[in-house]
């Protein structure tokens, strides 16, 4: 028993060390002549049976299967992470106040004032519009600033790249060097298609979309919608026009300069009017802005002009994103 164990252990040891099983009647090879180059010397006396050591086998195995196994382990770990996060959050959700119950802590005196006095305090029929553009207007101002930040950042990243590229194309040497230094992706193509169907549909639908967008923007204080969603609808009209008639036609009235000037001006009007209302509110001064009667189109104090400003900013910015992403320029 002991001997057997020893033999098994021995063979295991040999396998790990890479010496292979030792034959019964082993003939030990003679020592190689000393004048042979060092590299040709056999590794050890069992060299005939030399196999790769465990380490070598491991590295070979890793070379062949490593990436595959790694990706499997990685996705397994991802799923595990996901399950852990989800179960933790589910355990939390199970203890939260019940769904749809009017006794929840969120339905408190804050909400009561928004609903009961929101109408005559802000003049807006849509309580949400009154909430975001009057009660909590600072958040909404921050939100427009986020959009502005993203717009200038995207303009910086993509707008400048296109100009540099053109410079590179002008001087082939630079381009060559650039290719040597960095392997570039496939060249970015621009598409110009003359599609009669698209053009016809666009001619019919662009006025409708524009009108829809304007209605959503202008009725922001009366019905669902408002500056942001209306602006997004307006920008889709611009995008459709750019697709159907080509960018040049849209560039005639809307280029980088107009974009910057219009969105900065609109944001400036927004900031100044909101700043006036914050200032008067905080210092308990009388604000000259009338509230109007609820339900009229000219009501809600600053909400209507603010919605129009936001609509302009959003339409310009989202179209700007589109133009920068597809053409790399405006």
């Amino acid at each position: 028993m002991n001997e057997e164990l020893k033999a098994i252990w021995r063979s295991l040891f040999d396998w790990v060390m890479g010496n292979g099983p030792r034959p019964e009647n082993e003939v030990i090879p003679p020592e190689p002549p000393p004048d042979l180059p060092f590299t040709l010397k056999p590794k050890d006396k069992y060299s005939r049976f030399h196999e790769a050591t465990l380490k070598e086998r491991y590295s070979q195995w890793v070379e062949i299967h490593g990436l595959h196994i790694f990706s499997i382990v990685y996705s397994g770990l991802s799923v595990l992470t996901c399950v852990v996060v989800v179960s933790l959050l589910l355990a939390t959700v199970a203890e939260l106040p019940p769904f749809g119950d009017e006794k929840n802590p969120a339905n408190n005196e804050v909400i009561r004032r928004y609903v009961e006095h929101g109408g005559h305090e802000t003049g807006a029929q849509n309580i949400v519009a009154g909430l975001i553009l009057d009660y909590r207007a600072f958040d909404t101002f921050g939100e427009s600033a986020v959009l502005f930040t993203a717009a200038v950042s995207v303009l910086m990243i993509l707008g400048a790249s296109r100009r540099n590229k053109q410079d590179n194309e002008l001087s082939p040497n630079v381009n060559e060097d650039g290719k040597n230094f960095l392997q570039r992706g496939p060249p970015i193509k621009t598409f110009r298609k003359d599609d009669a169907i698209l053009r016809g549909v666009a001619t019919l639908s662009i006025p409708v979309i524009l009108m829809m967008g304007c209605v959503v923007v202008i009725n922001g204080h009366l019905s669902p919608g408002g500056g942001f969603s209306g602006g997004a609808i307006l920008s889709t009209a611009l995008i459709l026009a750019a697709n159907a008639y080509g960018f040049e036609r849209v560039h005639d009235f809307f280029n980088e300069r107009t974009f910057i000037v219009s969105s900065s001006t609109a944001l400036m009007i927004y900031a100044l009017s909101k700043g006036y209302s914050f200032f008067t509110g905080a210092n308990h001064l009388h604000s000259i802005i009338p509230k109007g009667t609820i339900g009229n189109i000219l009501s809600g104090g600053l909400i209507l002009p603010l919605n129009i400003c936001v609509g302009l900013i959003v339409a310009g910015t989202l179209y700007g994103f589109y133009a920068l992403f597809s053409e790399g320029d405006m």
Partner: protein
């Protein structure tokens, strides 16, 4: 616990979705998928908020007319408007972030030809080594 989860089914779905989104954002290696994961996570959180604002049997927060030319302003008629306001802000934030992240992704692809940040690092080090080797060769050439 399961009963409560079934009661809070919107919230439960929202946290499952946000968990999936978070995992995608953290662990997907393709940047486009990371960004989609970000969007999934954000919308899931907004779903959670919107579900928290819902009160059974109440109307959307737009003032209704009562028969006599006035407005119904009882707070037991409308759902909670605050989550809607917060989510509106949040949607703008997530579209801005998406556009910015996509722009950076395109730029990364232009420079490295890959959508994977780690692979980009690998390529950068390879290219730097090549460049250094070239510089060394050139220096040796000058010396000789």
């Amino acid at each position: 616990m399961l009963e409560k989860l079934l009661l809070n089914h919107y919230e439960a779905a929202a946290v499952i979705l946000s968990g999936i989104g978070l995992t995608n954002l953290l662990l997907q290696r393709n940047l486009i998928k990371k960004i989609i994961g970000l969007n999934i996570m954000d919308t899931a959180v907004y779903l959670f908020l919107a579900a928290k604002g819902y009160v059974a049997g109440r109307a959307a927060p737009i003032l209704l007319e009562n028969g006599s030319g006035g407005w119904v302003t009882s707070s037991s008629v409308y759902v909670n408007p605050v989550p809607a306001g917060l989510v509106l802000t949040g949607i703008v934030v997530s579209v801005s972030v998406t556009a910015f992240a996509l722009a950076l992704t395109l730029k990364l692809y232009e420079s490295y030809g890959t959508l994977n940040i780690d692979e980009a690092l690998l390529r950068m080090t390879e290219q730097q080594e090549e460049l250094e080797a070239k510089v060394d060769e050139a220096e040796e050439g000058i010396l000789s």
